[in-house]
């Protein structure tokens, strides 16, 4: 047993309002630089949709992540999995030209507008316009693509309908998803998952990428990176980016300077929907290989089982032996992540089948799935309001009533298969289980607060979902009421023991982001 601590995250998708505040917070701090304009270390995509870069989930195109060759048991057998598009043989063989590298057009060509033209154009018959210019060439461009080009199902025929997660849905199921009256969507905020078996680290020929032992944050050493670009291919989530101006790769650093100072990462701190939770978990590093090469149907559960119970005395003892600080163990015990993922079993990893063991988990969204349209009688209302008052003349009602209990989950507007393709390697039962829990908590709280649901019915729902009333209240608290310190349980970084403490920081003052001062495109003199 080799117990380590890992900063892990949960995003509660039911709460995300798709405001992109997180993306902007991140961009302003880290990627507001030449060469990084197109990079969104945090991005929020509309699902169904093709995402950023386009169709990133389709590994037939991007060749990211690991693949399992033989379908062996994977028990204790390491080396059973291989990087799909990189690795020692492929990486070195393709070192002069990486055939699996996405190019800038797969993301979008960064642009700005010539705002000055609005003020400085000579007087004329036409209204002056601010034409878009490329941030790479400085020339006029016709914008073909931008960040969130398909936000809120914009351009659905081109984007939403080409979502790689629709692959094993029946044509009827697909059609149902795109009927105008039934159309639904949700948001999927994505950052680097700081994986346990990161493809990016494994693919780097220079060894520039590494996982920090103390907290598991995955970083690129900018001094060691030589720009071979293999990590861009190997990350199945496309969360390593090539900076075309510095010739180096960059990725989400989980705001480690903030975490070390006890602050939440900027995206999480600024999150308007308060959907984000961060905490530390203890896991057994000896199991990584084994779990990563598990058969596909066991993968998701074994992935979550790698997390250890921080209250188990044996685990605590082994953690101490391995140099995990007491304060970190205490943080792990208070971690909202362990609760969501293990205790309550409400969260799932995104695309486990890529086998990088992502450490960011998602509570699947219930609302867009469950709400249905039903007819309501508006006559009484209309009479009360009178002719002059405007009211919704349509008698269709967005109905989230809990009358039918779990029946509706299977008739949901999103085929469960779609959600399962995203969160549970195709296993619909796992998603149904989570949605039932979300539903049961709602029914329980409805009983407590409104009272129009009977106690028997509420308890029955909880029982069926495998929850108790106490658990449901705790879930409700952490979902709806939780304060900053409940959502972010950040372990002390022990800066007093970190060698950077003695580093001379003066030469970094006044810089933002990575703080480049030199013309970085230059090589040599």
């Amino acid at each position: 047993m080799d117990i380590r601590s890992q900063i892990s995250m949960v995003f509660h998708l039911d709460k995300c309002i798709g405001c992109h505040t997180c993306s902007v917070a991140c961009k302003n701090i880290w990627t507001d630089r030449k060469g990084a304009e197109y990079q969104w270390w945090n991005n929020v995509e509309t699902k169904p949709g093709t995402g950023y870069p386009g169709k990133w989930e389709d590994q037939d195109i991007y060749k990211g992540g690991w693949e399992k060759k033989s379908n062996g048991a994977g028990n204790g057998e390491s080396g059973d999995i291989k990087l799909k598009g990189a690795g020692k043989r492929k990486g070195l063989g393709n070192i002069f030209h990486n055939p699996n590298l996405p190019v800038i057009d797969d993301y979008y060509e960064p642009f700005t507008y010539k705002y000055l033209d609005l003020i400085e154009s000579p007087a004329g018959d036409d209204q002056p316009t601010a034409r878009p210019v490329s941030l790479i060439t400085g020339k006029h461009i016709d914008i073909k693509m931008g960040p969130n080009w398909d936000d809120d199902l914009g351009g659905s025929p081109d984007y939403a309908r080409n979502d790689p997660n629709l692959k094993n849905l029946t044509p009827a199921e697909r059609e149902a998803m795109f009927q105008l009256e039934k159309m639904a969507f949700f948001y999927l905020p994505r950052i680097c998952n700081h994986c346990l078996n990161p493809g990016c680290v494994a693919s780097c020929p220079s060894g520039a990428l590494y996982k920090r032992g103390e907290d598991g944050i995955v970083l690129v050493n900018q001094e060691v990176c030589r720009g071979w670009r293999m990590c861009v291919t190997a990350c199945p989530y496309k969360k390593t980016y090539y900076n075309w101006h510095t010739g180096k790769s960059e990725k989400c650093i989980l705001c480690f300077p903030r975490i070390e100072a006890g602050l939440a990462p900027a995206c999480m701190h600024s999150c308007v929907g308060r959907i984000r939770y961060l905490g530390v978990v203890l896991y057994d590093a000896d199991k990584i290989q084994d779990v990563a090469s598990a058969p596909e149907d066991e993968l998701v559960n074994r992935h979550m089982d790698i997390m250890l119970d921080p209250n188990d005395p044996e685990v605590i003892e082994a953690a101490k032996q391995n140099g995990v600080a007491d304060s970190t163990i205490r943080s792990a015990q208070a971690s909202p992540i362990y609760k969501f993922v293990k205790e309550w079993g409400m969260a799932l990893p995104l695309h486990s089948e890529f086998r990088t063991l992502p450490m960011l988990f998602y509570v699947p969204p219930l609302l867009p799935v469950m709400a249905s349209l039903s007819r309501a009688n508006n006559a009484e209302q209309a009479e009360k309001l009178g002719a002059k008052t405007k009211f919704w003349s349509d008698d269709w009602l967005y109905d989230t009533s809990t009358e039918e209990l779990f029946g509706t989950i299977d008739q949901a507007r999103f085929p469960l298969q779609y959600m399962a393709n995203l969160f549970s390697a195709g296993d619909t039962d796992m998603v149904r289980e989570r949605l039932m829990k979300l539903m049961a908590v709602r029914i329980h709280r409805r009983h407590v607060t409104v009272g129009d649901v009977s106690k028997e019915k509420a308890d029955g729902a909880l029982h069926e979902a495998g929850l108790t009333a106490e658990m449901a209240d705790a879930i409700y608290y952490l979902t709806a009421l939780a304060k900053f310190d409940d959502r972010f349980v950040i372990p002390a970084a022990h800066r007093e023991q970190a060698i950077e403490m003695m580093e001379f920081t003066g030469d970094k003052k006044g810089n933002t982001g990575f703080g480049f001062k030199e013309g970085t495109a230059q090589r040599g003199l």
Partner: protein, 242 residues
């Protein structure tokens, strides 16, 4: 032997090699951040493929060919003693040299014409490409015009290069050679001379260590075993910049 010849074939090689060694070490240690070649595949990948792949593999084979003739002249001569083998040897070398030439020309055209690449062009990149182009054209000319290069390289040039390495330069054989060959030799040393100041430096950081490295890399800020033991210091290294 004119004094210019004397300079070019005895003094200049030493100047070039010293600059190469000292300059590379200096650049690696002081300006390590930029020890790489700025890849533009991300901005333009399709045309680049037809340039960069023949260029690099051509360069690799041609360079190794020269290196072998330099290191094992006797072996190369023995191999070449059979005319079939000689022709195969020269044929392979020349094919890769042509690939190198074609690749280089495609890369130069791409660099000069593609609008996105203009954003990452530097004058030094163009200069390096021109130097390489001249050197490759000279090389192809020699291969065609002065047969058989692989044999006389091993017989005449290799001893000269060894004499330089042994600090006892014997330029006589080289000085008597045709002008084209002399230019090619001076060109070769010139490339060594400019090497540390250009993107060519990325050759020195070719990532061979990846072959032996375990896939996953974990770095600890402190020694995780020592950290909980009050009798041992947790860190022994001082940061580089303080």
């Amino acid at each position: 032997m004119t004094s210019l010849d004397y300079f070019l074939f005895t003094a200049f090689p030493y100047v070039a090699i010293s600059v190469f060694v000292i300059g590379s070490i200096y650049r690696y240690t002081r300006k390590g951040y930029k020890v790489s070649s700025l890849s533009a595949q991300f901005l333009e990948g399709k045309q680049g493929f037809w340039g960069t792949v023949p260029f690099h593999f051509g360069m690799l084979v041609v360079f190794l060919g020269h290196l072998l003739a330099f290191l094992f002249p006797a072996g190369v001569l023995a191999w070449n003693s059979n005319p079939m083998r000689l022709i195969a040897h020269e044929g392979i070398g020349f094919t890769f040299a042509v690939a190198l030439l074609v690749g280089l020309i495609i890369l130069m055209i791409r660099r000069l014409t593609h609008p996105r690449l203009k954003a990452v062009n530097t004058r030094m990149d163009l200069f390096v490409e021109l130097v390489l182009l001249a050197q490759v054209i000279l090389g192809c000319w020699i291969a065609l015009g002065y047969r058989w290069g692989s044999s006389w390289f091993a017989a005449d040039l290799s001893p000269y290069l060894w004499s330089i390495l042994k600090l006892n330069p014997q330029p006589e054989a080289v000085v008597a050679m045709p002008l084209v060959i002399k230019a090619h030799i001076v060109g070769a040393f010139s490339i060594f001379l400019i090497f540390p100041f250009t993107r060519l430096i990325h050759i020195l950081v070719a990532p061979f260590h990846y072959i032996w490295r375990p896939y996953q890399v974990v770095i600890w800020n402190w020694n995780k075993k020592d950290i909980r033991d009050s009798t041992t210091p947790w860190s022994k290294a001082r940061p580089r910049n303080n």
